[in-house]
Symmetry: C2
Subunit: 491 residues, 2 copies
């Protein structure tokens, strides 16, 4: 099966599509732009959810649930928000179907028209802040730190599985604070949570920073982002955290009595990551043989394949495998012992490579004799014969090593593909030649940003939080620049 994947060098885009389909992660549905997340893909998403949810709870957040539908008028209340979100969206206008008098089908009942249309949420700031108005009277009611796991819909014209779909799954945090400082701190805390998740769980290095005004969330005063570099040299925005100021509180009239007894508007943040992270995960590590999954997010961490010629051999291997499985289980390692007789070992090897299972153990008759087995790692595609004794501990060490190794590899790739450039012509040339991240000086104006975008399709991914701050001159206009910013073409 692995052979059927288009190679990355041939077409990265086709390789991605092939891999998502062939590794059983997701597929398009009968509804334009909407995907079916298949069980294997969903089990990775579940692991992401669990890890993130634990981190949200550790940082003092609780989950809640707000309605799928938002009255149309809510979108008009925050001037910037409406421009950004109320445009391409699914609009519910009716609430009933009836039998078609002329045929066997059903038609929309024209008498069941809603007084006010409902929008399927593209994001929930408006309905949540409309709700918070009734929850917040005093500083004693603050902070409110909520998160919801939900589906949202944005009517995208061009869609790609996981990366851009009309419906997607995400979490959206919405917090309310008594002070500006506290809201800014929350915005930063959550970006750091995301970055920690990206690096420690997904093994995906990220650059943290601020979005420019042009690239901010509609309604935010500041948008913080984490940007990851994919193997084709394009950036992928992987999570954002927004400092919303008092914009939504003003739009929905959410005031509170502060400690000094005065009325003030509440300060807000929102932050989210989505099933887009699945795309980021796939494009960070995988190769022409298939998925490469970080052990911490792999639904199956170890596949065990028996190699045998007759039932007697299989019986012996089954017995040994049962012991190994028990040992793995005791260490909390997830495994699959695959003694399906209808498939050949070679087929299984290719299948587990395609699915990104981090470690594969193979046990044959000679292994039984020698008390050994073959241990293969997915990330490097190397294997070795190891003693059977203490195999679970060896696997545990190997899983940790794979987790670190794929992070290091992705980090090294990013370092090798981050270029410091001062000349605009060189920037354009290198962007076409090799892509990647570019650290360049920029004069801070939207005009220059737009010009670069129009001429090169590269955008400012962020103004990085970390790294040296050295002043210089804008590569386009020569005007002063306080520090280099991160440019790239992006998904």
């Amino acid at each position: 099966m692995a052979k059927e994947l288009t190679s990355r060098s041939e077409s990265y885009s086709q390789w991605y599509n092939d891999l998502v389909i062939k590794a059983d992660l997701a597929e398009y549905s009968a509804v334009r732009g909407c995907m079916v997340i298949k069980p294997y893909g969903y089990s990775i998403w579940e692991k992401m959810q669990r890890a993130l949810d634990d981190m949200f709870k550790e940082t003092g957040h609780t989950n809640a649930y707000f309605p799928l539908f938002i009255p149309k008028s809510f979108f008009s209340k925050e001037a910037n928000h409406v421009e950004g979100f109320a445009k391409e969206c699914a609009v519910v206008t009716h609430y009933r179907l009836k039998n078609d008098p002329d045929g066997k089908g059903v038609i929309v009942d024209p008498e069941a028209k809603l007084e006010e249309e409902l929008i399927v949420r593209p994001t929930s700031e408006t309905i949540i802040w409309n709700t918070y108005r009734n929850w917040i009277q005093s500083y004693r009611d603050l902070p409110i730190k909520l998160n919801q796991w939900a589906n949202v819909v944005r009517w995208e014209m061009r869609t790609r599985l996981f990366l851009r779909t009309a419906e997607f799954l995400w979490q959206e945090g919405h917090t309310a604070h008594a002070t500006k400082e506290e809201a800014i701190e929350e915005t930063e805390t959550m970006l750091n949570v995301y970055a920690r998740f990206a690096e420690e769980w997904m093994a995906m290095p990220v650059v943290k920073g601020y979005k420019t005004a042009n690239e901010r969330f509609a309604g935010a005063l500041e948008t913080m982002t984490m940007e990851a570099l994919m193997q084709d040299g394009k950036a992928l925005q992987s999570g954002t955290s927004h400092f919303l100021g008092q914009n939504f509180a003003k739009a929905f009239d959410v005031q509170f009595t502060n400690k000094e007894g005065k009325l003030d508007y509440v300060w807000a943040t929102s932050w989210g990551v989505s099933t887009r992270l699945m795309g980021a995960l796939i494009m960070s590590h995988s190769d022409d043989h298939g998925l490469v999954l970080p052990p911490k997010l792999a639904p199956v961490q170890v596949a065990i394949v028996p190699i045998y010629k007759n039932d007697e051999q299989l019986a012996q291997i089954n017995e040994v495998a049962a012991k190994i499985c028990a040992e793995l289980k005791a260490l909390g390692i997830s495994y699959k012992y695959d003694n399906d007789d209808t498939k050949k070992p070679g087929w299984k090897f290719a299948e587990y490579e395609l699915k990104g299972v981090p470690v594969r153990l193979a046990i044959g008759p000679r292994d039984i004799e020698n008390q050994t087995l073959e241990m293969a790692r997915r990330d490097t595609l190397t294997k070795e014969v190891v003693p059977m004794a203490g195999i679970a501990d060896q696997v545990k060490v190997l899983l940790n090593d794979i987790q670190s190794n794929i992070f290091r590899k992705a980090y090294a790739y990013r370092e090798a593909n981050t270029t410091v450039v001062d000349d605009y012509e060189e920037f354009k040339r290198l962007l076409d030649e090799k892509g990647g991240f570019f650290l360049c000086h920029w004069d801070g104006t939207s005009e220059t940003e737009e010009l670069i975008k129009n001429e090169t399709k590269a955008t400012i991914r962020c103004i990085p939080l970390e790294g040296p701050v050295e002043p210089g001159k804008c590569m386009v206009t020569g005007k002063p620049s306080a520090r280099r910013v991160l440019f790239a073409r992006a998904y």
Copy 2:
């Protein structure tokens, strides 16, 4: 706060609404019939989800995700299904808004009309079976045993928080099998999973059985149900499992090659429970003081309240409490130590009663002296002074006891309110006088069932799976009946 609840005897319905609101479980939103599930309510739902999800996985199911939207035409494909589900639903007709040329708001862009309207899923059989067509060719592709956690929308005219809302959260299992027998076994297995969850986690006894033809799921050959008795003598359908036969496979042309090499249609089941279970939980155990939660589903199992007159006393209690918290944590018991200085102990006691926290510990200066504390249980509203030594173990025993006790109490209530009646006039009288479950003979016809429903508002909740099978005569027509069936008025 507890005093503000309407008493159950005054108005059960108002008591329920008061409790849902005042215990911070849920509230209505700005969107008609849609609710906001508040953090406390959602944390109970999360515990339900986790327990159910574990049980689904133990029985060989995996999660996946299918689109929110279903093309309108899909509903016309299964004749019974369309009658049951395609009527009161949210219909998406457009995919864009635009600025209102006459004002500041937004209007639906008439040029962005969908070619085919999309229905917000009321249930997902149609889109899932349309997908299964591409997944299933051979018996080797079977069984498929998937579940999804999702939101669904049914445009209900009369709504009640948790019990009947336009949007609700649920899980829906959808399985595909090679044989009729296997599908029937799956239908039964999942009803048993639900019943085990209801009894072991929710402490809510249920009667398992088959629905009559009238009450079946639209498109099912058999619907199995579990029915619980609420404190006001009304039944609540708490979970259903459907044997769908080959209806959806035929409607969506899902055929497979069986072991004999012949083409056949695939056999199907579906099963679901929803946030309605929250309503069932509330109405099974709670009292005029507030919620009573089974310890297994309580977000906080133990509340610890310090009682003190000065900072010195508080410091001593804090120290002792820290040790107790550490002990509770070690036993996996969730707790909250509430030393909020702005609230009085009496307020806290009432608050934790209202929220249904199973165990409350109070520690005062005398307790520090005597090495004791006060341990109160929510279910019986009794308390005792107990030694501080080994308190965590005592709490653990008490939590188990509360879990059993509220089940026994609910079970005893149901037994006391299940009446065997042979006379139709007596049935009508007792139904009005005391309500509850009634075991009666019925002639098996839809006509008689309808007549009883029209005259009494009671319906056949199920044909029970368990209990004695004794033949008799229909209480209305006098015609032969093979066994008694369960009647009740229902939510």
